[in-house]
């Protein structure tokens, strides 16, 4: 029937017209706006009102405990903590910023802070809240936006090398301290009788940028400077070659495997201090394979490339939500959390390493062998590139690294391709 068809067409046309006119009303104004506003706030003398905190999973209780202590000194304030899963932090900040509703304090992972800064979700840090020189430089870099600092580093973490000390001893080798020694140990592991792999590197589909960027730094380079990305450089190519070499020689598994650290199939990997606890539990519960004891678990700082032995810094940063209506008190709380006593308390509560450098001179840390290694590695760290577009570029690195590892592409060509992609995306501010 032409009547209904005409009517349907009319409805469709009017819907389209409405949609288009509202889009046409959009337009960027020329005035630039810096994320989070321009003015930096002030810090209160005593905290009042309500402070709502979004904590990443596992940190809720610590913040509640510390919050209670803070409240005894500042009785007019009440602090509530809501835990959210790490993976959803970006999404929740997106929705909060879009709707203008959100908490007062927001916790972000060191690799997420840049995105939230770009959203305009964080307020600039006022003077006096933190003592920049007292914190690890890489941690400060992770909270740096285009025009200043937007969060306060709370705790830090990094990764280092775990290796089968017992097997290495049998092979007559010590812990590696350079790239060459690392390759030597890996080959020795893989070629020994009954050996399978030599080095359990993150697979190309498991975000390999997390090791390739530190490798680049260890080779004396960087993936970005003030002007742009620098992937088409000899150092990045060297890092890529180093990474894919282990896969090419068959010393790193390209797919799921039954080889594990504890059964000796994959006797080396890069990870963090919590692995010690996992192995302790495994051994205590009797689930460990024959011959695997606590002494088998060796850990040392990252082996050095030609320039240094920088590893990736991670951790948690705390910032004040840009639309918060209780910013002054929130800054006071964050400033208080930065103090030496609270940083040490944090370690007691969660085992997280303090962002304040001097707080690492704490007996429980010094007494723990794995924490000592962490402490040794911490000054030698490089941050995840703190740009909003980083996660997209890291994905590209993974895609091209996979092709290199499969022999489809040379490292030089991959570096050029990654550079091209990165240039088209930019920094994302």
């Amino acid at each position: 029937m032409s009547g209904t068809t005409a009517r349907r067409a009319a409805i469709a046309a009017s819907v389209a017209a409405v949609a288009l006119t509202s889009i046409a009303a959009c337009g960027r104004s020329d005035a630039g706006e810096s994320p989070g506003g321009d003015a930096t706030g002030t810090v209160a003398d005593t905290a009042t009102g309500e402070i709502e905190i979004w904590a990443a999973a596992g940190n809720g209780d610590a913040l509640r405990t510390l919050g209670e202590e803070f409240t005894t000194e500042n009785p007019d304030v009440s602090i509530t903590v809501t835990e959210i899963p790490w993976g959803e932090i970006i999404t929740m900040n997106q929705t909060a910023v879009a709707s203008g509703t959100g908490p007062d304090i927001v916790m972000t992972g060191a690799d997420q802070t840049a995105s939230v800064i770009a959203m305009g979700g964080l307020a600039p840090v006022p003077d006096g809240v933190m003592d920049v020189d007292a914190l690890y430089p890489a941690a400060i870099a992770s909270v740096t936006g285009e025009t200043g600092l937007y969060s306060v580093p709370w705790y830090v973490e990094t990764r280092f090398l775990f290796y089968r000390a017992d097997i290495a001893a049998e092979l007559g080798l010590d812990a590696p301290t350079t790239w060459a020694e690392l390759e030597e140990l890996s080959t020795a592991y893989a070629t020994r009788p009954g050996g399978e792999f030599g080095f359990g590197l993150p697979r190309p589909i498991e975000n390999p940028a997390q090791v390739i960027v530190p490798f680049t730094s260890q080779a004396g380079g960087a993936v970005a400077d003030e002007d742009g990305w620098t992937f088409d450089t000899p150092e990045f190519v060297e890092a890529l070659e180093f990474y894919q070499g282990f896969f090419e020689r068959g010393e790193s598994p390209l797919s799921e495997t039954e080889a594990t650290f504890e059964n000796g199939g994959s006797p080396m990997f890069i990870s963090g201090p919590w692995m010690v606890g996992i192995y302790e539990e495994m051994i205590a519960s009797g689930a460990a394979p024959e011959g695997f004891t606590q002494e088998s678990v060796g850990f040392v700082p990252m082996p050095a490339g030609s320039a240094n032995n920088n590893s990736y810094i991670g951790g948690g940063n705390l910032g004040v939500f840009a639309s918060s209506d209780n910013q002054e008190s929130s800054w006071l709380f964050l400033s208080w959390l930065q103090e030496d006593a609270q940083q040490k308390k944090l370690f007691d509560l969660t085992g997280s390493f303090p962002a304040r450098q001097e707080s690492a001179d704490y007996q429980p840390i010094l007494d723990s062998p794995v924490m000592t290694v962490l402490k040794e590695q911490m000054p030698d760290t490089v941050e995840t590139p703190s740009y909003p577009s980083w996660s997209q570029i890291a994905e590209q690195i993974g895609i091209y690294a996979e092709r290199v590892a499969h022999g489809e592409l040379s490292s030089q060509d991959a570096a050029k391709a990654i550079q091209a992609e990165a240039d088209s995306v930019g920094f994302g501010w």
Binding site: G58, S99, S352
Partner: protein, 293 residues
Amino acid sequence: MTIVTSSAPAEIHAPNRPRRITPGRILLILTLTLGLAATLLPFVWMLLGAFKTNAEIMRRPVTWWPQAPTMDNFRAWFVDFDMSRYFFNSVFLALVAVATTLLFCSMVGWALAKLEFPGKRVLIGVVLSTMFVPGIVTLIPTFVLVANFNMVGTYWGMILPGMVGAFGVFLMRQFMLEIPDSLLDAARIDGAGEFRIFGGIVMPLCRAPLATLAIFTFMGSWNGFLWPLIVAQRESLYTLPVALALYTSPTGDKGAEFGLQMAGSVLIIVPVLLVFIAMQKHFVQGIAMTGIK
């Protein structure tokens, strides 16, 4: 009224003749059992894993039967972890979702199936279109909307957007299309009003699709993770899947808790399966529609 409808076919089995043990039957049951075993394999591993320690789950080669069985995972869920609040939230939201969805979708499904009105085609098209868009795209606009209504951090915010599922509308419409027009016309001739027809004839005939919709809606609500997380913004409103994700996620000094995850997943599944068992009783052969010759 001389409309023959049966609202109690529950006693009738399908098919309605004595069941003999024939070779065909045995083959049927055998095939189904083999298929079932294959289908349930991953779930069985998950179930067994709930009784294992984390270390054992991570062991390679994998073990099937727990070598060091433990109740620690379940104990952690019931004792250390206050399930009651999250359980209540999940139940409440799921029941509201089922009630509203069943009511709204059957009403509009009926209109779309058997009633004529201008704009019918447009409505079907628009409703279906919402199913064709991945949820992530409409997430932020929906949240902004909910925030504008000041419903963030409330039960309303968690309920309302879920009430507009195209799935339920489409499901009810398709089933209602199968109702014979002769039945309805006879009722109209006898002077029954539309609402009377809807309540007295249509709904009793729709036990199977209603039960189906109830199952799917309950499951969708019960397993929902992202939307409840984003809207709740307060731990007191969290539902079970959200709590599960939080409680088992890795932190500074521990890795992923596989044992807890398996046990938690098993616990979350149980209510849905119970609802399924209860609802699928309604998948009964309908003799009702043959009342009119």
